[in-house]
């Protein structure tokens, strides 16, 4: 059976459901809204950077050009490279911030 986790964006307190076996970015994409600057979805381009402030996730390898080892240890990760194993609270950092936090569509979520 499909198992969903709830992802909450700290800045706006908005949340969305994400399948446990999908990436946090895919979950956001599945909302089908404009303004989410989806890049490679494979950990190379860095546009999908987030800071996880609460919750557990599994991750795959991501580019050091965009996430340093220290950042990764502190939960600063590429959202296309993590899958939620619990509900997550995260902050958007990097290129996605202005689109996600200031898009009128996000407010309508």
């Amino acid at each position: 059976m499909a198992s969903y986790r709830t992802i909450t964006i700290a800045e706006t307190c908005e949340s969305y459901r994400c399948l446990q076996e999908r990436s946090v970015l895919e979950g956001m994409e599945a909302l089908g809204r404009k303004g989410i600057p989806v890049g490679c979805r494979r950990g190379g381009c860095g546009v999908c950077k987030v800071q996880v402030i609460e919750g557990q996730f599994t991750k795959r390898v991501m580019s050091r050009a965009h996430v340093s080892a220290e950042e990764e240890a502190s939960g600063c990760v590429l959202s296309c490279c993590i899958r939620p194993s619990s509900d997550l609270r995260l902050r958007i950092v990097g290129a996605m911030k202005k689109n996600v936090c200031h898009s009128p569509a996000m407010a309508a979520l």
Partner: protein, 308 residues
């Protein structure tokens, strides 16, 4: 120009985050032929139809992107000649000894103003396409994977677009085929250059950061082949950026997609022939959407913003 001087793109070395995963993907999904590994652990590939030993080299690294892009030149005399011309133009060159890349002769390596490392070489081992040079059959390209015809061109991003364009046209004999202007109507946003009679062998876009890769492209037989590639991508859950669609520029049909480390690749078909006597085509900023994605008629966010 006649087919002397720089002949064609020859090899691209890409950085990948997980080599084993990538080798499997380039073999099973792209349908490239594995051509072995070297002492450094780099993995080599060619398409089935390519006759030279390799065209794609994968290097395990902690960040994605392109190490270098290389062009094959006619012969060793031509290589020496270009080395001299580059030096005279003020470009420092470095010699990479034969054999440093499997099956590949001596390379002349240099940096272009957009920060990319470019190589020229004259010799790469002719391993053939498996059909032989006498009375060959047609290769119907059956079997798993996309199986493109050849590694065809690259699109590179960097700041000094004018400097790199000048170097390729004035020193290496490339011709300008198409370009897109910025809002001011004067500055080039992007250029498509050829060293052959193809619509492009190299394209470049002006971009704040140097030494960035937009895509490495593989040629397919037909539009039907582009649709087949898209089906294979969906079956394998490949991350698709755009397409199948058509470019206004070159008029080729295309898919932009990402390999497992986030490097963008393209599979395309078609495009017109270009000869050096032909007038370059210029696109205005107002029509940039149609120039890149002819059917959507607008750029997606990723075109200018997502690179490795």
């Amino acid at each position: 120009m006649a087919m002397t001087g720089v002949l064609r793109p020859g090899h691209a070395q890409l950085r990948v985050l997980d080599l084993e995963e990538s080798v499997k993907w380039y073999t099973d999904v792209m349908g490239l032929v594995p051509m072995g590994r070297d002492k450094q652990g780099r993995a080599y590939f060619k398409t089935r139809a390519e006759r030279d030993h390799n065209s794609i080299i994968l290097r395990q690294a902690d960040q994605a992107g392109i190490d270098f892009f290389a062009f094959k030149v006619l012969d060793k005399t031509t290589l020496e000649d270009f080395d001299r011309k580059l030096n005279a133009y003020g470009v420092k060159t470095e010699r990479i000894p034969a054999g440093e890349l499997l099956g590949t002769g001596e390379r002349v390596r240099f940096k272009i103003p957009t920060g990319h490392t470019i190589e020229l070489y004259a010799e790469k081992k002719d391993v053939g396409n498996g059909m032989g040079y006498n009375d060959p059959e047609v290769d119907v390209l059956s079997g798993p994977g996309i199986r493109p015809i050849r590694m065809d061109h690259a699109l590179l991003y960097g700041a000094d677009l004018d400097g790199s364009t000048k170097l390729f046209t004035e020193v290496l004999g490339f011709t300008l085929v198409e370009r897109v202007k910025m809002e001011d109507g004067k500055t080039d946003l992007a250029v498509w250059l050829t060293c052959s009679a193809k619509a492009h062998d190299l394209a470049m876009v002006r971009h704040a950061e140097d030494d960035k890769l937009h895509h490495v492209s593989f040629q397919l037989q037909s539009w039907e082949g582009v649709l087949r590639a898209a089906d294979i991508m969906s079956i394998n859950r490949v991350s698709i950026d755009m397409g199948p669609t058509r470019h206004g520029i070159t008029q080729g049909t295309t898919i932009y997609f990402f390999e497992p480390s986030g490097n963008r690749l393209e599979t395309f078909s078609g495009g017109y022939d270009h000869y050096p006597d032909m007038h370059p085509i210029t696109w205005s900023w107002e029509e940039v959407g149609r120039s890149i994605f002819y059917h959507d008629r607008k750029l997606n966010d990723a075109f200018l913003g997502v690179v490795t």
